[in-house]
Symmetry: C2
Subunit: 387 residues, 2 copies
Amino acid sequence: MRNFNYSITTTILFGKNKIEVIIPEIKKYGSRVLLCYGGGSIKKIGIYDKLLALFKENSVYFVELAGIKPNPRVSSVREGIALCREHKLDFILAVGGGSVIDASKAIAAGVPYEGDVWDFMIGKATVVDPLPLASVLTLAATGSEMNGSAVISNDETQDKRPMGDPALRPVFSVLDPEYTYSVNKWHSAAGTTDIMSHIFEAYFTPDSGVLVQDLMSEALMSVCIKYGRQVIDEPKNYEARANLMWAGTLAINGLISYGKIPGDWATHMIEHEVSAIYDLTHGAGLAILFPVWMDYVLDAENAWRFAQMARNVWGVKLADDMAAAKAGIGEVRKFFKSLDMPSTLKEVNIDGSHISVMAEKATIFGPVGSLKKLYSKDIEEILKRAL
Amino acid sequence: MRNFNYSITTTILFGKNKIEVIIPEIKKYGSRVLLCYGGGSIKKIGIYDKLLALFKENSVYFVELAGIKPNPRVSSVREGIALCREHKLDFILAVGGGSVIDASKAIAAGVPYEGDVWDFMIGKATVVDPLPLASVLTLAATGSEMNGSAVISNDETQDKRPMGDPALRPVFSVLDPEYTYSVNKWHSAAGTTDIMSHIFEAYFTPDSGVLVQDLMSEALMSVCIKYGRQVIDEPKNYEARANLMWAGTLAINGLISYGKIPGDWATHMIEHEVSAIYDLTHGAGLAILFPVWMDYVLDAENAWRFAQMARNVWGVKLADDMAAAKAGIGEVRKFFKSLDMPSTLKEVNIDGSHISVMAEKATIFGPVGSLKKLYSKDIEEILKRAL
């Protein structure tokens, strides 16, 4: 096990009607709120009205930034920064899924920064004294509610880039599983795929002797398997929604990656390039790419790890590591199919025309991946196999 | 899943030589330190000299409270409180196992409190503005390094009572697995038993539909099984010591109990009464009592939970829940025996002479346990069966 510093400071307010307690939590940090959200879903499910009533009752001043899109754009972020400066806002409340929370993190970092916020995405700026932010989560997927990472897209350059700093962890996040009842089949499935993918990224590193992290990761994978289909068929099943929501948070808050190389992340980097150009749902892109990545990187040296997953998570009984590993990857493929996720790029109308550009962009800062280093030619091959 | 608030604020500095970074961590909170420790082991393994050098180099004023015993006495706590007041100390550093950390928590709570510190143990006082404390852990066992709980003994009254408050969580804890290399076979085994018991307490509640918590708990049990014997046979095996140390912390920091009734805890309450009178090693007492408790409370209604553990953790294949449950309890008994822990009170020279007193004291605040409520007559029966 590698040395690590564990510090997960976000308070999670989990369960039914937890939104009722947020005002004193907000007031610990600020009194003038930027309320960020996406489309109209928070109005449809009643969160918007609830928040407005709470703000009114408690005399909380707020300004709205609506319309934050999936794969959130840096243009929305810039708009949010301008609003915070203009209205002297001191707190950001993100209400939505990962995109809204990610945009809010970039706004939080950008307000006290003099240059353009895209600088954070290209490593030109570091986060200093960001505004405090919190979230009310409406989608079990990205885990952004309990970590300091964000991914922002740039329309002009067709780039999609991560940024991150521990200081960008939300100070609190409300996780009310009932808010996810209205998430449609497609986004429920894509969310579960995203959660599973985060666990895969943490799990598939060259580390050995990290049984605590391994078994915790396998536990969270089993939760996705148990409830992934169920939330599609029974969208209002509280047990299923609650377990997936909590698993999604724990999958990427540090718990399963501390003590190891902090993940592989090659597949996410590749998917970012695909969805930067095609605006594909992130989870769907991962469902297509992860099994292909697994097949591509599997070798004699790392087969034991794939085999361990196969046996512990998917019940594969084969004694030979390589055979078990391949069977396990087959199970992953079947699982994503069982969620009605696509398994080829063709199914989502993506052809091979931008493959070399995507492969180049994914490796713009050098090779990606820790289980196996991938160069642009590797990524080209993975994308071709995914067609 | 039940509603919960998750807030685990302790920073963990995990790994080799992490003690090197503690000075700036201490200085975030204070500058005049009460250094608490037990016997001479911290001198033997070099932590004491290392700390003194660090304090000297960085001009940190400190006062020592040495000699804190296993099952820490309220007399030591009172001594620590007096030292803090006399020397105007503003920070407590506990160096040792759970006893030293527990005593330090009681000191931290007691310094600003006007009455006698035992008031916290009898519910007469609540924790307000405790001194900040931190720990350097030398034993994988109690998990005190990342929670707000403490157990203190009173020589005069032969009482052993818990106290707790989130504000008593250490602000940081150093977990260097190498510090546990010199722990002897007996205490290594008792430590693993203690960890396993904490997982049992969190696991055996009436809750269902809590798969995240269940599978995480089972993951931590499997870690104890994998490495419990190994640390006895190979005391300097870093992998084994590191996995057990981290499992011990996660077993009782809230992670596996949030979202449920916060544990059963009957077995711990019973053991506290035994070790209050006999000064038995806590883990050894638990090894004797837990299988007896399991047999006693097992019934048709809760057999599914024992069966789930049996199948997921111990590989029991029986289809019938009751049969699987009994087989699982048999495995628990075998596991503690494999660690050379005692399985009867007789083996540790305890006879039946105080059974009714212990049973009365264990239920002084009412019946104990959440999986099944136990009254004094139940506890008498459990203790008799444990003889």
